[in-house]
Symmetry: C2
Subunit: 167 residues, 2 copies
């Protein structure tokens, strides 16, 4: 969250800024995923990243709807956390030669991304409810559930052979 001087006075301000943080993050993830699709070797992992790219576009759509419903400015604020997580993912992709080890590293990188989104959406759902915005909470919960499902799918992919082959 890139904020200017003391501009967060209320829980509502904090909610909107965190929305803008995850909106930026989702857009960065959308940009990063095609590269992960290209680098993955396992067809199941490649397809998993493709599916998640489409889901990410859906998440961005829901966030736009939440901005509209809440009367808040639809914009992203720079989020050093997701920038750092994606930077690590790119570093991994550049430093691993063996294709199966690379798949294992890509899964780990993608799970770090998912966990960042899970924590932010978890927080946003809670804050939306506390602010009496059940309507926003319901949409944000859909994004949260999809991120959690993606994280589980990645765990299954890792357990189901990719890492085993690489080890």
């Amino acid at each position: 969250m890139g904020w200017f001087s003391k501009d967060i006075a209320t829980m509502d301000d904090l909610f909107v800024h965190t929305l803008q943080d995850i909106y930026y993050a989702e857009n960065q993830i959308r940009k990063a995923l095609p590269d992960m699709v290209a680098k993955a070797t396992s067809p199941a992992l490649k397809q998993g990243f493709e599916t998640h790219l489409r889901e990410t576009e859906g998440h961005i759509g829901r966030l736009k709807e939440v901005f509209r419903m809440h009367g808040a400015q639809e914009k992203g604020v720079t989020c050093p956390a997701i920038d750092g997580i994606i930077k690590e993912a790119n570093e991994i992709a550049g430093e691993v030669e063996d294709k199966q080890v690379l798949d294992a590293a890509l899964i780990a990188a993608a799970q770090a991304v998912e966990h960042y989104e899970i924590t932010r959406y978890g927080t946003l759902v809670a804050w939306a409810k506390q602010l009496g915005r059940e309507d926003c909470a319901a949409l944000l919960k859909q994004n949260l559930d999809e991120e959690a499902a993606t994280d589980e799918k990645l765990t299954k992919l890792a357990m189901g052979g990719i890492n085993r082959k690489a080890a």
Copy 2:
């Protein structure tokens, strides 16, 4: 993970580098926590951060033991992800004036840290098992379980009044 050119050839290399990544991250968290203790207003949150500071020292101790058991170099490698997550946490602390809103923001920041650790330890436990290092996996699992418990405690603190008062 800050890596040099193509130096990760095997799953074992990937495991050791990820150990060094979380070792760096735990040390950065240890440095960041006293500031979070100082900034928290709710006595329960302050105490929670203090408890987690002691746990973090325990995690670092267990990581040293894993390095020793695995015959790997005990060192950290720069981890842009945790650096970004902590940078965000510091930005929040600087931008919120109201004490109850600040507590809510600090909880969200701490949960982002926990989720980063949960994903990395989850990956490390799986890889240790695949590499036949059940001994390392058992120690890493203890760290994982404590991070997950801390995340749950933070959720309860958030739900139990801090955010509600701030809203």
